[in-house]
Symmetry: C2
Subunit: 378 residues, 2 copies
Amino acid sequence: MPEPIQFTVTATDGNARTGRLVTGHGEVATPAFMPVGTRAAVKAMAPDELWGMGYRMVLANAYHLALRPGAALVKEFGGVAKFMGFPGAVLTDSGGFQAMSLAKINSIDENGIRFRSHLDGAPVMLTPESAVEIQEQLGSDIMMALDECTPYPAEHERARKSLELTTRWAERCVAARRSTTQALFGIAQGSVYSDLRRTSARQITSLEFDGFAAGGLSVGEPKDAMREMAALTASMLPVSRPRYLMGVGTPEDLVAAIGMGYDMFDCVMPTRNARNGTAFTSSGRISIKRAEHGRDPRPLDEKCECRPCRSHSRAYLRHLFMSGEILAARALTEHNLYFYARLMRDAQAAIASRNFTAYAKEFIDGLAAGDAAGANED
Amino acid sequence: MPEPIQFTVTATDGNARTGRLVTGHGEVATPAFMPVGTRAAVKAMAPDELWGMGYRMVLANAYHLALRPGAALVKEFGGVAKFMGFPGAVLTDSGGFQAMSLAKINSIDENGIRFRSHLDGAPVMLTPESAVEIQEQLGSDIMMALDECTPYPAEHERARKSLELTTRWAERCVAARRSTTQALFGIAQGSVYSDLRRTSARQITSLEFDGFAAGGLSVGEPKDAMREMAALTASMLPVSRPRYLMGVGTPEDLVAAIGMGYDMFDCVMPTRNARNGTAFTSSGRISIKRAEHGRDPRPLDEKCECRPCRSHSRAYLRHLFMSGEILAARALTEHNLYFYARLMRDAQAAIASRNFTAYAKEFIDGLAAGDAAGANED
């Protein structure tokens, strides 16, 4: 039986690596960042714009789509990529994280997550089996196993029980899976405890998954702990399968995680922060609402070639933001996603030329130089 | 001295006509609809998208820009077209309409309009002289004289006094004007009274304006009265100058007004209604929020070639709208502006081939057929 995805490592430099991920909806060069398209739309962006920036895979939320417009409707329209008019691949999360964080009432037991819809209060039960079934209906190229994203902080005992539940759910997800064209990824948990991270990674990687993710990071733990656990987990994931660091992160975090050998990333930062007026630039973050940009004729980032940077001054963007114009959200989102896409392209090129360490240092130094000059002002 | 704009009638068909309007920022084929870019941004659209749809002139509001970011700042950035990154021409209104409708407190006397900013309550005095000065700072290609937009309903005596004030202000605008590169248009008022419309048109057209507008229409009067007054005013405006019908209107209104000999239009309908979920189509209006579109795989308009109609089903657009996604506002705005742009192109072609009456009938019949089939459901 052909596998639903093929993954080939094409170059390595230390732990960092480039790869080619072939899905049912085309090829994705890794390391790859996936813009977050919660409700089958990356906020403020049109699908062809994402494609134009080089994105070949986006993330959509199973929880949101199952509640509205419903997974059956998305299936009727040929799956989530076709429904949203995106010509590339889509990864769906399992819905577990949103069921815990957004739903009105919830409880977790062995069977799954019981909650009430944040839209209309309707009772819903999300189990490993239904999480897979929903994602099979959504027709995503990569499905994620239902896990319990261990909250931070969690006592060692609580974290241990949580990861063991995640493992049992992972087994049920593997058993429940029917699709032969959609990949299924497992998620390793373990909170901030090295022994638990090892246990979880060992258990999850023993199952028949097409790829593996590190979950439960960037949930409030100190940055050092996040990086240490991410690196530890990466070292335990098989070389031959894609490695996905969920929910991370800042440009600095991404460069660090690429250095650990991760291949895939998602995060709301470039899109959400854009709508709040924050732009990521090669010399750090800037907050466009600050008065100092009011008469500034420069683009957001003088080293950037995105459409907003070619068209608009900081003064104009600040005017748009202060006026509440939708174009402010559009322009900053487009810029930030362009910045993230370029980071991935540059990292790929650096790895291919075995120059990743120097690239990473120069990139981080550039951000820090902005710090010294008063950028990173978020 | 060269005139700031050149206008040439290129074809006529009955009262309808096509023309070429040459401005300091390029050429505009007429009849032309101008999208409304209140705060130097057409809501939800990027300037290059407007250009791509064929728009060569947009409208911006002097009132809004004078309050924020300030006319001096816009001047510093090379004028409003350059500030917003639009490669075409810009027409600014005088600010009088907004000073009356949006400002917190206002009073009109011979000298001008006294009001408090809706942003911060600061007292402002808008006079014919300051209205021209602000627009000269904004650097628009066409400036509008300060007028009193006579409210509806108005007694005959009130309407008469109002139009006479507008005439005295018009004289002061002409006298105040300094720019030799920006055109200045006069505005005829007269409410719904034929004698007053004639008087106002006669007085305004006796002054040294580069073009003329019919104002004070579509302000609440019956549709028949609007059309009668618009036609009457058009008949009194000089053939050799552009004729601008302000604030109109629906697709049906535009076709009617083109038939009267108007050359220029602006209206918030295609943009504002889009954000409220209404799409204009060749078979009438549809409201995307209605449940019947929930599983509809068709585009908004099967006869439309705009990007949203090529990419998105009604079902997806309804999902976006119900989810509050920015892309819903973008897609419907882009579609509606495309529909209006196409209406102008089709009308131009029909006039050039002396086929306007048949075109107008077919267009209106198409909208009505939608009515019969349950469209026009706004």
